[in-house]
Symmetry: C2
Amino acid sequence: MRIRIPASFFMLLFVAILSAQAQTSPAPTPPMGWNSWNHFACKVTAADVRGAANAIASNGMKEAGYIYVNVDDCWQGGRDEQGRIQPNKNFGDMKALADYVHSKGLKFGIYSSPGPETCAGFTGSYQHEEQDAKAYAEWGVDYLKYDWCSASQVYPVSQIREVYKKMHDALQKTGRPIVFSLCQYGWDLVWRWGKDVGGNLWRTTGDIQDRYDSMATIGFGQAGLEPFAGAGHWNDPDMLEIGNGGMRHDEYITHMTLWCLLAAPLLAGNDLTRVTPEDQAILLNKEVIAVDQDPKSAQGHRVSAEGPLEVWAKPLADGSVAVGLFSRGGAFPVKVNFKDLGFTGSVHVRDLWLHKDLGSFEGEFTAQVPRHGAVLVRVWK
Amino acid sequence: MRIRIPASFFMLLFVAILSAQAQTSPAPTPPMGWNSWNHFACKVTAADVRGAANAIASNGMKEAGYIYVNVDDCWQGGRDEQGRIQPNKNFGDMKALADYVHSKGLKFGIYSSPGPETCAGFTGSYQHEEQDAKAYAEWGVDYLKYDWCSASQVYPVSQIREVYKKMHDALQKTGRPIVFSLCQYGWDLVWRWGKDVGGNLWRTTGDIQDRYDSMATIGFGQAGLEPFAGAGHWNDPDMLEIGNGGMRHDEYITHMTLWCLLAAPLLAGNDLTRVTPEDQAILLNKEVIAVDQDPKSAQGHRVSAEGPLEVWAKPLADGSVAVGLFSRGGAFPVKVNFKDLGFTGSVHVRDLWLHKDLGSFEGEFTAQVPRHGAVLVRVWK
């Protein structure tokens, strides 16, 4: 007798496996936290990192979801006689630093390169991948940003996938869940293969700069990458510049709005010990963050463009849609047609920055958008 | 007895009227020529303009369609007692200069502002619109670039349409066909009304700079403006920087490819008396220029984007489609699906930069595109 198993059983099994995979991923939603580079660059010290952890634990960021405290380049101090990676004098004891971050209920991230040297010329993981992964796990590292840098000196770029896979396997072998962040500037169209080599996120472009043009070119340039993101594996348009002073308020609003619609990792890059209430409010708006962290795990897409006026949408788990209305030029009214979102009839609209229900609208919604600014709404039937 | 006129008669009449309008427009196809600003800026003299005219008449540009020789800002020298606009000592006799340009079989363009001063602080046309239009006509001017500049000092921006209409009417009154170029940096979403105030072209953005980022942000940022362009009235993403030295060869190829797909005005902005054969070849490729000047008068649109990889298409009068394959990042293969162009089955592909038939393809075509580069093909059934 053959037992007939209905197709729906396999479908459920498949969904259960996918769901379990997403749950066991160290990055089921886009990672949130802080990274030392955008503000401190190579001047960073352990004291700065502790300061950031203190700030996050006490200023509302932790509750808002910012849990990773990540050291970027410049913490390394060479290797000892057994080849073990050492911190430099600005850092001292990395395990103590990780413990301190953990004591705040936060997670600790670190940085290396598959090449012999990091971008700033410090010791990379070349030929020490397993040894370094083991050290990170012993210290209690929860997140590794792995930056290609000098790897071009020792590998052809054609081997980039194998090179990243090698470190992924080394991290896996430690048994510790460690978010694996690929930093290779979009090379080799990484979004097509980043997941296959175990990446939880991968940089899609060169480094962001704290200027509107840089942020906008990167952010709006993510269009069409949405099929490649999902729970556990995210496109990374680079870290946040909010609070670093190079953009106006409306431009930082655009930065946060766009990054959340893109389901981008949200790694603050400012000095958290000196942040204006205005900038802090951008980083802490929970309705906006909820768009980024939504469990549907969909990256938003561009719905329409009329020159500088762009409309982007991100479908959310509850059936509503987050919609960003942007002006890359001056102050203009920007319109979204509900049929472009799959809605007909009367539609509810809520302004997420203002926490304000705007009422019901038929057919379309138009918002006045400031120069270089954005309006973010949630719409539902 | 009522005479019944078939609907097709009115349709033909309508087409005939539209066709006649396009023919009587001074810009039935996107204007082509040269403008002094991008290279000479405020140092321009009549000798430079004569030099450009000499070059165009002798280096193949005239035959390729570059017929306008346009002086930009800095030719003005105040007004005489009757309020008549005077050239400054760098220019002397404007009628003589126009005559010289005309003697080469070319057309002559000039520049002013609706404000009291031009952008560089020279005399504008404020309160002298009719008088200036008359002077231009007497000199033999064929093209006026009218640059908002100081007009904000004397008009609210809400009057921008009336201000441009005023000069259009003054030009019309002279009886001389003069191309009317609106330069207002995209303000007030000019593409929605530029035609209504008599504009033959209107700037959709701020000034271009001779850098890839500037050119690409402007060029790719034209997406969605295609419904607003047509025979006699064109979106203007600003003048060409080809030959000015700030971009690499592949980047200038992208510049020309994109501008032609956009049916953009092609105003060279380099020093035509010192041009490399490589740059000249970009400006003179007749198959590429034919895309820009195609009589269907359709502005191209973005077909797809995958992050830095973009595909744009421009339908041509003969039923073929010009397709641009771009990489805004590194060197990558870029693919176009023929179904996105409305084609099924086997499709012919010709490389327009290389003047080379590439053969027939099924379903899709992929080209290897250099970093920041472009491939331009024509495809047809």
